[in-house]
């Protein structure tokens, strides 16, 4: 009765049962009737002598604990433990030497576990602070990696096509000194120097072009032209001009990053409102003062846009340019030679390094942007 008063829209059915959980439990129950996998030529069921029932009991306990938790969030954490246990089961079975490719019972069970994870994420994404901004994306990424690992190993995908993440991690660890040398050559030497030169030149030419209108008129069409030049066309020419070492990579990066920076800076400098400029004029502020105190702060969101676009362009440019000649070190060199030798683990490890570097670079710029342009409408109150 009191429940009806506080929440008149609640129906008795809804309060009686958690239908979402029931919808997840049904495929999980059905899965128990189907096989887990094949061991030594014999089909193995759920209760055929493996450790599977122990995992099953753990999952059920976690879900029951979750459903009866006094707070929905605590329940979500308990259910998350259940999801983790469910996904550990195929990894355990693989280590036991089972062939899972025909284990439809297991796969159906994992589908139910994924639905449970969906439910958990829905609750966690509604939480404030770190849970939403760090834990949820972290769990998402981890889920993708575990899914990749289990599917690739479970269905025995050849490693030459797609190795599981564990194998890529092993290759990373085994080849760490080589990969570090590649990283130093490509990222710390070529990319950073080329990036600073390209963005710096783009920025300074934009300041000049803003002062001298004919420069802007002449340069902007060239910008469209330059952005249409393929890297694979410009890279061999730069290698011929500047040699095998970092200078040719930096030159490719300068060509790729100069115009995005120029165009974004020019757009940013034109972003100040008339009324703000009039204000500076009424203070008898000259060109330099107006630039530093008004126009550059106003241009910051545009500058960061250019810097972020260029961070990924620079890495791509350096790696592709290394295909056309390099000292025997560098990420592009590593990829091109190890592909030829069919050492795809190292290729994947290099790709992982490049991906982490690229997102780290971008992420650092995004953090810097958030700090320096917290005032901008797109950044406020986050």
């Amino acid at each position: 009765m009191s429940d009806l008063v506080t929440n008149p829209y609640r129906t008795s059915l809804r309060s009686a049962a958690d239908w979402g959980l029931v919808a997840i439990a049904l495929p999980a129950l059905a899965a128990l009737a189907l096989p887990l996998g094949v061991q030594n030529g014999a089909v193995l069921g759920w209760f055929g002598g493996s450790m599977a029932p122990l995992f099953l009991i753990g999952v059920v306990l976690a879900v029951v604990a979750g459903a009866s938790a006094p707070k929905r969030v605590w329940g979500a954490w308990a259910e998350l433990a259940g999801v983790a246990l469910a996904w550990l089961l195929p990894l355990h079975l693989l280590n036991e030497g089972l062939d899972l490719s025909a284990g439809w019972g297991l796969w159906l069970f994992l589908v139910a576990a994924t639905l449970l994870l969906w439910r958990v994420m829905g609750v966690l994404a509604g939480m404030p602070g770190w849970t939403r901004s760090v834990v949820v994306p972290g769990l998402f990424g981890l889920g993708l990696l575990v899914g990749w690992e289990v599917l690739v190993r479970g269905f025995q995908v050849p490693a030459i096509l797609l190795p599981p993440p564990s194998r890529i991690a092993a290759a990373l660890a085994a080849n760490a000194p080589v990969l570090w040398d590649d990283f130093r050559q490509t990222v710390l030497t070529s990319v950073l120097r080329g990036y600073v030169m390209g963005c710096g030149a783009g920025f300074m030419v934009a300041i000049l072009a803003d002062r001298v209108p004919f420069l802007a008129r002449g340069l902007l069409p060239l910008g469209n032209l330059a952005s249409a030049i393929p890297v694979v066309g410009i890279a061999p020419i730069m290698v011929m001009w500047f040699g095998f070492d970092w200078q040719s990579k930096a030159a490719v990066i300068v060509v790729m990053t100069f115009f995005p920076m120029l165009i974004n800076t020019l757009a940013g400098l034109g972003n100040s409102e008339r009324i703000q400029l009039d204000l500076m004029r009424s203070y008898a502020a000259g060109y330099g003062r107006t630039l530093v105190k008004l126009r550059l702060p106003n241009a910051l969101p545009f500058l960061f846009n250019g810097l972020k676009i260029n961070s990924t362009l620079a890495l791509i440019g350096a790696i592709v340019a290394e295909f056309f000649g390099t000292p025997v070190v560098g990420m592009g060199f590593r990829i091109s030679t190890e592909v030829a030798r069919m050492n795809l683990d190292i290729v994947w490890a290099t790709i992982a390094v490049a991906a982490l570097t690229g997102s780290g670079f971008y992420g650092a710029l995004a953090v810097l942007e958030r700090v320096t342009t917290a005032w901008h409408p797109s950044m406020r109150q986050r």
Binding site: E273, I275, L279, Y283, A284, P297, W375
Partner: protein, 287 residues
């Protein structure tokens, strides 16, 4: 057309004919003097005359309102005084100087239609902006900014960002910023045009108290008759196409100290009536 006060007629005619009287008397008492001021904008089809042969004299300590419908050149006239626009013909003198010299000497403070605060600066640093440009030392800058913020009733908001303040508060910050320059001449272009009437009444009261306390010369652009009569010692009625002055009305019949109650007085009604008549005249000419 009847004028309630013969004194006003004399003054208006004198202003219209070019204020030689004011110019010949005491030079230092005249802050702004414009003669036969015209400004023509070239546009694609035909040139637009924003100001046509405007004569105007503004005395020290006056609160002058420029009122008229949109397109009558009231903002343009203010921008010419501020050297944000250049007239195509005629003369204008600010404190014995050209507008450009006056601007370079930072003789005026300008309050725009919008607050025009810089969102990346705190309230206090916004008020300090003109002082930074003038090269005033940090401690002095801060002291002056605090003083002006207190004057507009915004003590305690120094560390806030403009977008955390209401529209009325933002406009008060922009007034504090103009006052921080310590100018003798305050130019205001419809500063309260975007605000609701309650906030506007409040800020009008604030402004008139500020004006009396500081003794500054104010030029105030508005399209509200009540606001113009309430604030001004003189009202300049303007008319569009081409922008020109129709009438200059003295508000001597109102006390120098303005309280919101004076809006109920017959003197207030009489002046408001005359302003309305003047605006009507401008429109009938147009139709």
């Amino acid at each position: 057309m009847t004028f309630p006060n013969p004194l006003d007629v004399r003054e208006a005619t004198a202003s219209r004919q070019g204020s030689d009287r004011a110019a010949s008397s005491a030079k230092s008492s005249v802050v702004v003097e414009a003669r036969k001021l015209s400004l023509v904008y070239p546009t694609a089809d035909k040139p637009v005359t924003a100001l046509s042969e405007v004569d105007l004299t503004i005395a020290r300590g006056d609160f002058v309102s420029l009122i008229g419908p949109s397109g009558c050149g009231k903002t343009t006239l203010l921008r010419v005084i501020a050297d944000l626009e250049r007239p195509t013909s005629g003369h204008i003198v600010i404190e014995g100087m050209t507008p450009e010299q006056a601007r370079l000497k930072r003789l005026y403070g300008y309050v725009f239609q919008a607050p025009a605060l810089y969102p990346w600066r705190t309230v206090e640093r916004n008020v300090m902006l003109p002082l930074e440009i003038m090269g005033i030392a940090r401690a002095e800058r801060q002291a002056r900014a605090r003083e002006q913020l207190e004057r507009v009733g915004l003590s305690g908001f120094e560390r806030k960002f403009p977008w955390q303040l209401s529209g009325g508060m933002q406009q008060r910050v922009s007034i504090a910023r103009a006052l921080a320059l310590q100018p003798d001449l305050l130019l205001m272009d419809e500063p309260f045009g975007a605000l609701d009437e309650i906030t506007r009444d409040h800020l009008n009261l604030h402004l008139t108290q500020l004006w009396r306390a500081t003794g500054k010369t104010c030029v105030f652009v508005t399209h509200s008759i009540a606001e113009a009569v309430f604030l001004s010692t003189r009202i300049v009625v303007m008319s569009p196409r081409p922008g020109r002055i129709l009438d200059v009305i003295d508000c001597d019949s109102l006390p120098r100290e303005r309280k919101l109650e004076i809006r109920e007085s017959p003197e207030f009604a009489a002046i408001a009536h005359r302003v309305r008549e003047g605006l009507k005249e401008g429109h009938s000419y147009d139709d």
